[in-house]
């Protein structure tokens, strides 16, 4: 265990390197030099695996629209895994209950402290448990409704009215909530928006093309904002 700090430092360095601007160049041909999205596999009974086609579609869209070299498929990572620190960008969604173990909470806290970022997307039904678990991870932090002039809404595409509403659930407006740690936005939580559904294959939800496009654009915005070193 005496090498743990060095290991952590190494992982952190790798993480930071992975988000440096040179990766934005489309000319890069190194297969490892691509942007990955890691889907969080959590416990508690919720469907962490929901919207299976969403992330590949989003990655494809980003590659096509922005020239960022992206992986073709998602990674799956458990919060208790050391591999967590090699993914600078996490994605979490689902409909049901979420429960983190103590070890997962510690890991996630360290991950955020090391500069990691999580995009959580309420697929309808995970709101209560997600908020509860995040309170356990960052007890001091409160969710903040991000103003519409936040760069996350303008990093590549323009969303002057905040996150788009992709699917109806409660008839409430979509919200983009943020959790800050030392002034950094470490969790971006799309609530009542359901971007994940919008990223899915067209025949899954039969969303009109423009809605899907909007969802993908917003997803790309989050990624690009993050890749540009957004805090």
């Amino acid at each position: 265990m005496k090498y743990a700090p060095f290991l952590l430092l190494w992982l952190l360095t790798i993480s930071l390197l992975s988000i440096t601007p040179h990766r934005l160049t489309a000319e890069s041909t190194n297969p490892d030099d691509t942007f990955h999205i890691a889907r969080v596999k959590y416990g508690g009974g919720g469907d962490w695996y929901s919207n299976p086609s969403s992330i590949p579609n989003l990655l494809k869209f980003i590659r096509k629209q922005t020239g960022v070299m992206t992986a073709s498929d998602e990674d799956v990572v458990e919060l208790s895994s050391p591999r967590l620190f090699s993914h600078p960008y996490l994605y979490l969604n689902g409909h049901g209950n979420i429960r983190f173990t103590e070890r997962e909470i510690e890991h996630l806290r360290a991950y955020f402290a090391a500069g990691g970022f999580l995009h959580a997307d309420d697929n309808y039904g995970m709101d209560n448990s997600f908020r509860r678990e995040m309170k356990r991870v960052l007890p001091e932090a409160e969710f903040v409704d991000l103003p519409f002039n936040h760069p996350i809404y303008h990093s590549h595409f323009n969303f002057p009215s905040g996150p788009p509403k992709i699917h109806e659930h409660d008839g409430k407006p979509a919200q983009g909530l943020g959790l800050f740690l030392d002034g950094r936005l470490v969790v971006y939580y799309t609530y009542q928006s359901d971007l994940g559904d919008g990223w899915e294959d067209p025949d899954v939800h039969n969303d009109p093309p423009e809605k899907r496009l909007t969802a993908l654009k917003m997803g790309a915005n989050i990624v690009i904002w993050r890749l540009m070193g957004g805090e």
Partner: protein, 1122 residues
């Protein structure tokens, strides 16, 4: 009679009188002597007082006074003793006998004197009278004495006079002492000590009032200095503190008195008055401090509803501003030990006598208390110390009530009166502000057409109890009994969270939402569309004029290269005009946007057409190309440089750009007009189907609604039907003008159908029947109308579909032809390139090849022209296709130049490039064709709708035939077995079709409902028909089948019309931006500024500079934060 006794008696009586008078006179004499002695002593004292005699003289005076007093006494005694009346003897006896007789003249007179005189033993006349008579006279005289008051014979006046004299002299003495209190008493004192040497007294003496005692510290105090004697004009008031500090103040003495006032003394003093060497006594004044408030502090607890934090008052500042209901917790520390304390609260506006007292809890020097603030006023802290001293004039602290204003509520979205969309939903955004929080809200509405009651429902404001809260609500009015033309007035109400005085409420402005009639919607849409087309045509006309002007300018510059001021002005005007045209195009784009919004909102067209409009909008947005804008910029720069060559070159580029601008406008207008027809067809179809839906709804709810309601609903359909009829005629004319004769004919036919069936008449008849309470007739008319509308709607849908298909087919046909030609050009060019690559420089075939190259170029030009023409009719032909072919032409031109120069190298390369571009263009066209074909296959909904619609019609025919058959309650065997068998066969066929459709539509079960169930019902009807048993149940089943088929048809149609909604796609809700992040959460501010700077559209170099600048700023911020 005993003369001896009588005479003794008489003599004794007379002696008694003499002694009494002696005592009186002696007393009177003594009193006189005393009076004289007093006078002597008074005079002597006066002499001493006035002369301040030396001791020897004073002793002499005193001796003289004593002698004189003794002399007066002796004189008095001697005088009395020597008075013969008062000395024992015969004279005194006879004088008193006479006096007694005179005091009783009636009885005695001189008889007693006579009796005494005659009874004297040695009387001279004794022998002259008888003894007896003498005794007898004596006897009688004595007898007369009895009962006579003797005191009448006494003279008391000397004693009274002496008393008066004594009193007078005493009075004089007292007066003198009183008038000269300083000198007379002291003189008397000195006389009392005649041999003592007395010092000379000062000319005056001083005294002070108050003469000692205590006073409150710091309170005003006045001293009066009195001077007696020769009072000086002024004196010094000297006071000394206990620490030895002495101070003096001069006082003016007037009439013996002078006053001095002090604002207050901080400590005890000793004081005296002094003038010259004469000083008053020294007095001591103890200064006592009253209890005072040494420290005052408070904590103010605002009422809980306000959620305001506790306020800690500033030290020793007791003024309070608070909301009603706030609790004030006071802590007072006094300067002394306290016995009691209380808060005296005086309400504002009341007289000073109206004071509420609230006792404080006292502990040593501290006291605390709580006060609930409910009204304005002021309060004082009153304290009493353990010695009973009370604080004086305590400070009055103000209590001001903060007002809790009523909330402010406003409807921010919609910002104005609006028309209700086809989805019957109104998105509301209500904002409310209050100084302390919004507790709840409500939306109220009423129908304007009636004096209807106001309905209300709660609005949920979030965040709750926040000062600024928002309620977002999608108001679904689909369940409300609204008819086209109805207007709802609505407003929001918000309550604040004032739990003390009760929540205050306020209402927003009132807004109207109108359910527009079909006619209005159509009119509005068409107006927008016409306005758009008109504007586009105006822009086109202006663009043409501008184009001519620019061409003339180019020619002029070619003719006369000199660039003068006049030309410069004209060019500038042209550039400005082009700028205006750009703005007009932007305005046109906005108009199309509005149109699209209207179409979408009222669901007047299909998604496909809607998308075409959006494409059109994109097309218009791209009319002003970046190249044109750059050409304008370059022209401006060239004009600034005044270089004729540059100006000419820039003008030529501008000319090309404006030509392209013109062509794009023409293309947009052309497509716009085409779309207008498609849009109108969609609109007609949609409206007819909507009418059908409403008619079916009437039929379905016939048992639930009253006759009046049914009549209202049925009559509400008439006007929309008339509008549809009118619209069909107008659209037919439009089709005629657009060269769509087939569509025009179809529409004419449908118009005739509507007229022949008199659909609107049927609606009217149904309404009249309902109004006359003849429901069966109303139902029959309604059913007929529904059938007619279904037929009309089907026809319109078919016509609309035909139009689109026809256009697609024509487009595909044209594109195929163009592709063939392009491929021919490609092949020709390939051969030519092959030959050109092998030819020698001096070959005679150069000319021939050059001619063939010219032919290829001309052929390609022809293709381009046809493509351009075609592009006016479709979006499929994109600008990049034109650009690709344009490049090919350019390369061919270069190749021709190569031919004329006889340089094989400069021929082959452009030829290859041109060939590449031609082939790429051909591929693009093939892609367009593929896209077109896939578009025509659509989603399969059309086919399904068609099939369901036809089956509904067939079923209706069967139903009609069944209705014609006799039958009623119970089973009955039917005649006409042949007809029944045919009907059964038809029913069976329909059942099979339905089963197939059911299998095909498995994935759409949620839309279509259970088609298998319909198939089952069809089977049952077929069984009945085969058994020749038609009864009421059979007919009911048949009606159900038609009804469900129509339902399924409508479901599919609605599914197609509003695919987005059916898939529960989210609707964008207008929402106010959350507040800005706190500074520690806003580390991205610099990045945001950078992004904004980029969005301004700077050049690359500038962007890099801006990036560097922001990076430097960020580094600087980081350093600062460290």
């Amino acid at each position: 009679m005993n003369p001896v006794k009588d005479i003794e008696y008489a003599r004794r009586t007379l002696d008694q009188l003499r002694r009494s008078q002696f005592r009186i006179d002696l007393t009177a004499g003594l009193l006189r002597a005393l009076a004289l002695a007093v006078l002597v002593w008074t005079v002597g004292t006066g002499v001493e007082s006035g002369l301040r005699l030396p001791p020897g003289t004073r002793s002499l005076l005193l001796a003289g006074m004593a002698l004189l007093s003794v002399a007066f006494l002796l004189f008095t005694i001697i005088t009395v003793k020597r008075n013969p009346r008062l000395r024992r003897g015969r004279f005194a006896e006879e004088w008193w006998a006479l006096k007694l007789g005179q005091s009783a003249p009636d009885r005695i007179r001189d008889r007693l004197l006579n009796a005494l005189q005659v009874n004297q033993p040695h009387a001279r006349h004794r022998n002259l009278m008888s003894e007896e008579l003498a005794r007898r006279s004596l006897y009688l005289a004595v007898a007369d004495l009895a009962g006579i008051p003797l005191e009448n014979a006494l003279d008391g006046s000397p004693r009274r006079r002496s008393l008066v004299v004594l009193a007078c002299s005493a009075l004089i003495t007292i007066l003198l002492f009183a008038v000269f209190p300083a000198s007379y008493p002291s003189a008397a004192g000195r006389l009392a000590h005649p041999r003592t040497m007395f010092a000379v007294p000062p000319p005056f003496s001083l005294s002070i009032e108050p003469s000692g005692g205590w006073a409150y510290r710091g309170e005003p105090l006045a001293f009066t200095v009195s001077a007696t004697g020769l009072a000086p004009d002024e004196a010094d008031f000297v006071y000394r503190f206990e620490d030895g500090l002495e101070r003096s103040n001069r006082i003016r003495i007037k009439e013996g008195h002078g006053e001095i006032k002090f604002d207050g003394f901080p400590a005890s003093i000793s004081y005296l008055a002094r003038r010259g060497g004469i000083a008053s006594r020294e007095y001591h004044l103890d200064i006592i401090a009253r209890p005072q408030v040494a420290e005052l502090g408070y904590r103010l607890f605002p009422p809980q509803y306000s959620r305001l934090p506790m306020v800690l008052g500033r030290e020793n500042v007791g003024d309070v501003e608070a909301l009603p209901g706030s609790r004030l917790q006071l802590t007072v520390r006094a300067t002394k030990q306290l016995a009691q304390g209380w808060i005296a609260f005086m309400r504002a506006g009341s007289d000073s006598s109206s004071v509420d007292s609230l006792p404080l809890n006292v502990s040593g020097q501290t006291c605390t208390g709580r006060l609930r603030i409910m009204r304005e006023g002021s309060y004082r802290i009153r304290l009493v110390d353990s010695d009973g001293h009370e604080n004086r004039d305590p400070i009055s602290y103000r209590v001001r009530l903060l007002s809790d204003s009523p909330p402010l509520v406003r409807i921010t979205h919609p910002a104005e009166d609006v028309a209700l969309g086809d989805d019957m939903r109104l998105q509301l955004l209500v904002e409310a502000d209050d100084d302390y929080g919004i507790s709840r809200g409500q939306l109220a509405y009423r129908l304007m057409s009636q004096d209807s009651v106001v309905n209300r429902f709660p609005l949920e404001f979030a965040p709750r109890n926040a000062q600024a809260a928002t309620a977002e609500y999608i108001w679904d009015m689909s369940d409300m009994p609204l008819f086209p033309g109805d207007v709802l007035e609505y407003w929001a109400t918000a309550w604040d969270n004032d739990l003390i005085n009760g929540p205050k409420r306020s209402e927003s402005e009132r807004r109207l939402v109108r359910l527009p009639s079909v006619e209005e919607i159509i009119a509005s849409v068409e107006q927008s569309e016409e306005a758009g087309i008109e504007q586009a045509q105006r822009t086109l006309e202006e663009a043409r004029n501008l184009r001519e002007k620019i061409s003339e300018l180019v020619d002029e510059l070619h003719r006369n290269p000199e660039f003068d001021w006049e030309k410069g002005r004209e060019i500038k005007e042209a550039v400005d005009q082009q700028g205006d045209l750009k703005q007009q195009v932007e305005e046109l784009s906005r108009r199309i946007d509005d149109l699209v919004e209207q179409l979408d909102k009222h669901d007047l067209t299909t998604l496909e057409t809607l998308e075409k409009y959006q494409e059109l909008q994109n097309l218009i947005a791209e009319i002003a190309t970046p190249e044109l804008m750059e050409a304008m910029d370059r022209l401006r720069e060239a004009m600034d440089s005044q270089d004729p060559d540059k100006v000419r070159q820039a003008l030529e580029e501008f000319d090309i750009g404006s030509q392209e601008f013109l062509e794009r406008i023409e293309r947009s207008i052309s497509i716009f007009k085409q779309l207008q027809l498609e849009r109108k067809m969609d609109e007609l179809t949609r409206l007819t189907e909507e009418l059908l839906h409403q008619q079916e709804d009437i039929l379905e709810r016939m048992d639930d609604l009253t006759d009046e309601e049914l009549a209202d609903r049925a009559s509400a359909l008439v006007n929309p039907m008339n509008a549809i009829n009118e619209n069909m005629k107008e659209t037919a004319k439009l089709a005629e003008l657009a060269g769509e004769a087939t569509l025009a004919a179809q529409l004419d036919s449908l118009s005739k159908l509507s007229a022949e069936r008199d659909i609107s008449g049927g609606m009217r008849r149904a309404a009249e029947s309902f109004a006359q309470h003849v429901k069966p007739e109303g139902r029959a008319s309604g059913e007929q109308v529904a059938r007619d509308l279904a037929e009309l709607s089907s026809g319109l849908r078919q016509s609309s579909s035909d139009l689109k298909e026809r256009r697609k087919a024509q487009l595909a046909h044209e594109l195929r032809r163009i592709t063939e030609e392009l491929l021919y050009v490609s092949r020709s060019q390939e051969e030519l390139s092959s030959e050109s690559s092998r030819i020698e420089t001096r070959s005679p075939r150069y000319r021939n090849l050059a001619g063939r190259q010219e032919d290829v170029r001309l052929a390609l030009q022809g293709v381009i022209s046809r493509l351009f023409e075609l592009s006016r009719e479709t979006f499929f032909i994109t600008p990049d296709l034109g650009a690709s072919l344009g490049k090919a032409i350019d390369e061919l031109d270069r190749a021709l130049v190569g031919f004329s120069d006889r340089t094989p190298r400069s021929v082959v390369s452009p030829q290859q490039k041109a060939l590449g571009e031609i082939n790429r263009s051909a591929l693009k066209i093939l892609n367009i064709l593929a896209k077109l074909e896939s578009a025509s296959s659509s989603t399969g909904y059309e086919e399904m709708i068609e099939q369901l619609s036809q089956m509904a019609q067939s079923q209706q025919c069967l139903n009609d035939q069944s209705m014609m058959m006799p039958g009623g309650e119970g089973q009955q065997m039917m005649p006409g077995g042949e007809q029944l068998a045919r009907m059964a066969a038809q029913q069976r066929s329909l059942q099979q079709q339905m089963q197939q459709l059911s299998e095909k539509g498995q994935g759409m079960k949620d839309i279509l409902g259970d088609l298998e169930e319909i198939a089952g019902s069809m089977g049952e009807v077929a069984d009945d028909l085969e058994d020749r048993q038609i009864d009421e149940r059979t007919r009911r089943l048949q009606r159900q089948i038609v009804s469900r088929l129509l339902d399924a048809t409508r479901s599919v149609k609605e599914k197609e019309y509003s695919r987005r909604r059916e898939s529960r796609t989210g609707r964008d809700l207008t929402r106010k931006s959350p507040p800005a992040l706190l500074p520690d959460q806003d580390k991205d501010k610099l990045r945001r500024d950078l992004l904004r700077a980029f969005q301004e559209g700077y050049t690359k170099d500038y962007r890099q500079l801006i990036r560097n600048y922001f990076q430097a700023l960020e580094r600087s911020a980081e350093k600062t934060s460290r």
